[in-house]
Symmetry: C2
Subunit: 227 residues, 2 copies
């Protein structure tokens, strides 16, 4: 499903080079639930942006469903992203002047879904994350955790086969966090491939495997024992 | 130090009224370390904005150092804010086109500190949160946890007597989170008053007292047993 071979990402700031990812190779099988952990600044979000086709590596190869991603032009890349990947960003990335409803409808607008169906599916996704009554609020009229849940609803609404979630519970109280993890668990049981970045060990333990990063390197893999 | 009497905040969206805080009364003594917990949407950030003089309540009274805050005009309010309160926002609120250094210098610029001293103090604050080598990066060239640490450094740099921190460790791995809590502990030992919102029980346990919120109400107070 997902295969990275020797992926590196170097950011250049003037004369300084910041090696955000160094020679990362990994595979995620269809239907797998993988967690990614590591210290602040270790390259996790950089990795997620490359996996989500939102950024290109400096070197190395990325295969999605067996197809090399670097060969794709911008338009084809955008289509792959819209159809295959649901992305929950660490900083939400919501449109600030649009309602929660419109933000969640966005992937369906790109996919060409008719307005009535699109609205009904977006409202269902918001209800699923406990925000049925907030659909007309804009992001600055929502709490931090509510914005995070809008971002999650948006990632789910197009029912993509791959979900990339970058710290989806960082702004949530433990009960809201558990409700979100229950949604990811249901999706996993239904065959969705999930890659989830988290700082919290008990969130990571919902996955089958944990990849540990440090200073841009994939340090080690850890199997999570099944209860 | 801080006293709220019957504080309410109602947001109006068209014909809808959202009661974000309902009749909240509380006191924080000078030098106290208080934690605030509660579900997503329970009013914590709304409370913090009122405490930080960034928003006015719909009703009720707020006394800071015995002085009623609602009597103050905008200019006086801004001066109080700059001199007395260091604020760590839940969503960082950094200037996106300025460097980490300039973002941390901002409170010192408002306070009229000369450029050389200001630069040196800002660099020291960044070093304290482990970001000495990132001072020239802009927010979008920083990881989520690094942005959060810039926001923390900015709150500390003017050495205010009160620190309001809204989820300061939400984007941090446990080790960076502990380093930040060690900084708050040092400040507390030096007599700084700290009000800290968190979802995590072990972060809240650094405080002497935990205030639990639900649906805009202060539900109960809990003393944290000293070890
Ligand atoms: N500007 C606004 N207009 C309308 N409603 C608002 C506005 N800001 C916040 N709210 C609502 O007020 C309630 C309290 O929000 P607040 O941000 O204080 O919650 P919180 O406890 O900080 O939540 P979280 O833990 O998710 O950060 C929420 O239900 C939110 O939707
Ligand atoms: N656009 C950029 N330009 C320069 N350096 C960058 C850029 N984006 C990220 N970096 C640097 O690359 C490194 C990795 O960043 P990344 O956002 O992937 O970390 P992370 O593991 O997600 O951290 P966190 O847990 O704090 O979110 C960091 O040291 C960061 O400063
Ligand atoms: Mg990150
Ligand atoms: Mg909040």
């Amino acid at each position: 499903m997902i295969r990275l071979e020797g992926i590196s990402k170097i950011y250049r700031l003037g004369s300084i080079a910041v090696p955000a990812l160094v020679d990362v190779s990994l595979e995620v099988q269809p239907g797998e639930f993988v967690a990614i952990m590591g210290p602040s600044g270790s390259g996790k979000s950089t990795l997620m942006h490359i996996l989500g086709c939102l950024d290109r590596p400096s070197s190395g190869r990325y295969f999605l469903d067996g197809q090399p991603v670097e060969g794709l032009a911008e338009g084809a890349l955008a289509r792959v992203r819209n159809r295959k990947i649901g992305f929950v960003f660490q900083t939400f990335n919501l449109l600030p002047r649009q309602t929660a409803l419109r933000n969640v409808e966005l992937p369906l607008i790109y996919a060409g879904v008719p307005a009535a169906e699109r609205r009904q599916r977006a409202r269902a996704a918001l209800a699923r994350v406990g925000l049925a009554e907030r659909y007309r609020h804009r992001p600055n009229e929502l709490s931090g955790g509510q914005r995070q849940r809008v971002a999650i609803a948006r990632a789910l609404v197009n029912q993509p086969p791959v979900i990339l979630a970058d710290e989806p519970t960082g702004n949530l109280d433990s009960r809201s966090g558990e409700e979100i993890m229950a949604i990811f668990q249901e999706l996993h049981d239904a065959g969705v491939t999930i890659v989830l970045v988290t700082h919290e060990r008990d969130i990571a333990s919902h996955a089958g495997r944990i990849l540990h990063f440090r200073d841009g390197h994939l340090l080690k893999e850890e199997k999570v024992p099944r209860p």
